[in-house]
Point group: C2
Chain length 420, copies 2
Amino acid sequence: MRQSKLFYKTEKEISKDVEAVSHKLLLRAGFVDQLMAGVYTFLPLGFRVLKKIENIIRKNMAESPLDGQEILMPCLNPKENWQKTGRWDNFDVLFKLKAGDKEYTLAPTHEEVISPLARRFVFSYKDLPFYLFQIQTKFRNEARVKSGILRTREFLMKDLYSFHAEEGDLDDYYLKVANVYLRIYSECGIGKETYQTLASGGTFSKYSHEFQTVTESGEDVIHICEECGIAVNDDIKKENNVCPNFPCRSEKFRKAKAVEVGNIFKLGTKYSLPFGLKFRAKDGIEHPVIMGCYGIGLGRLMGAVVEVNNDEKGIIWPKNVAPFQAHLIPIENNQKIIKTAEKLYQILQKEKIEVLYDDRKDKTAGEKFAEADLIGIPYRIVVSDKTAAKNSVEIKERGKKEIKLVKISSLPSFLKKNAK
Amino acid sequence: MRQSKLFYKTEKEISKDVEAVSHKLLLRAGFVDQLMAGVYTFLPLGFRVLKKIENIIRKNMAESPLDGQEILMPCLNPKENWQKTGRWDNFDVLFKLKAGDKEYTLAPTHEEVISPLARRFVFSYKDLPFYLFQIQTKFRNEARVKSGILRTREFLMKDLYSFHAEEGDLDDYYLKVANVYLRIYSECGIGKETYQTLASGGTFSKYSHEFQTVTESGEDVIHICEECGIAVNDDIKKENNVCPNFPCRSEKFRKAKAVEVGNIFKLGTKYSLPFGLKFRAKDGIEHPVIMGCYGIGLGRLMGAVVEVNNDEKGIIWPKNVAPFQAHLIPIENNQKIIKTAEKLYQILQKEKIEVLYDDRKDKTAGEKFAEADLIGIPYRIVVSDKTAAKNSVEIKERGKKEIKLVKISSLPSFLKKNAK
């Protein structure tokens, strides 16, 4: 992509009301645009990152061991389904609307749709287990929305639902999901800072699990066990002086602010009962299906990635989720340099390396570098008279100090090896 | 994918209220599920087709000559933006909602978001032209919704917006979009049945263009010029006895029912004026930006594909949008056949051929074939004692009569060559 054509604009300053680092940087670097409180547009740079995150999540959901099948459920939900579970009146952030004589909600989660849907397909124990997921827009009328894409009123969410004949089978799958979640955070570049966190489990199981990424902008507080590395949320901590992660029992905790980037929950029969989602067991007796649900908010995950990966100059995108792998920057405007840069741009594109090419002629090297640091693409490739004289380019990895001189002829293989 | 694990269920009969062929077949074959009037869930089979269509559209939007940059705008829109253009009161299918003291609409199109957004980025003629698109959920509270996914209240839409300094530039781009649209319909397998159709153009230009696919389930009527192949819609026909596609002037029209699968529109300054979207020209004078908008509904396109591609037995998916390329069906349950089928399934997966493997043991060959015809995957591969004795499989293309005997060893290359 030519930077002169890219739909973005960087800002030096941003309103003082903006507190979270990720909010500040994503607005300043032109990744997102705020339409109104808690509602954002993803601009081309932001959309590219969102898509990378989406693809990492999709792959992990669809492949073994989770074997999820992807579907797409609607945002508009009929009131009746939400009355059946009592959540029409009790789910406090529901957007509700009326059109004609029909009342709807904009779904904040999809148990009220997927449970009656599953009922049409499940009859016998032979139909179980199965796993359905979607990546879809959710709505929650949150009261406080001040942290940018960390907490919004409309957001993309991956929600996976599992359906089981037996509790033990749910337990096994739940563990698998927990492990895959940790892999997803690791692939997105926040593995080290993200903690599996015990939270209240509702009526069906003692605990559920949240995944919390430690950051100063986080609205949650977690307590990380210094022995076993599992965290507990504030509620659980109040009830336990020792680490409840059996058999740890340590009493040493480290308190940290964190943002929740996912949660997994054993629903049991909470939603299968009101919708009559049953199956006939081997012995011919009917039982309610046992369910689990597993969520990740994509925008929030993107925000958390920025919270963890930045410095005073801007964002430092982990390679897997970076909008581009390489940022090609000629710093002189003479014919020779422009020709070399254009040629390199063509070569990198041909080699399928995602490259942003700063072809702007009215910017100084300093301006270009400052923007490149703010945008945060992993590899900065500088072409100058000095480097061209050696048939080389200068490569600098964002967030590192070292500058390497690499021969132009070996640039594609260098990037393929390093930029993945 | 193993068919025994696939989340779907076929139905022999469907409610008599269901009229459109595509609606009937997509429900019967387990591609979609109706949550309520005009609101559908895409099940795994349907989701796969939707994704194929989405990728065809995305590729055509992002690549040359359209060079669109993808973004994602929100569903929730503030009332103020829609008041500014007068559409809060005049757009008759708006879903409106109130939460706290804020009023919102669920956007049925995005001029009210993208115009003020563009204003933040456009200053000079040097910033023009540019092209932004999204593939995103739209809402329209349609009064009549009886044709399945051909007309729904919630639907995925690709909307592209172009921004120009000069009318001639819009004209050029508009023509390019029209050609790319025809290519998209052709890639989706409805090229022959889809007509560029003249419709009213609003205040800025005499005509806009619809793309109409001829089918009995269509709610529109078009008149196809038998000379030049361009169609006109009913309104235009009333005003013209001769073909308005200069210099055709033919008077021979063929009337047909059709469904609109896309439209393109020169907006001119209709939305740039109310939002103050201006640019400074070379002479230093400010002008309003000239805009075009270009839409394709994904679900409706999928419905149209089925309308055009079916027979009395079921759907006949065009290869580019089929949920799977190959349907592998062993018709005996003995160890040798099962072993052969399992091996073939592994081989095809390894060769990246999308295969649905009917591994069910409790179905007869007749039941399996009937379902395969209903689902409509392009290549049916049958493994039986008879074929195995010749180290072969039987291949039949959906919608054709011929059955070919192909050596197992050359099956992957056969499919790669034919099934693309």
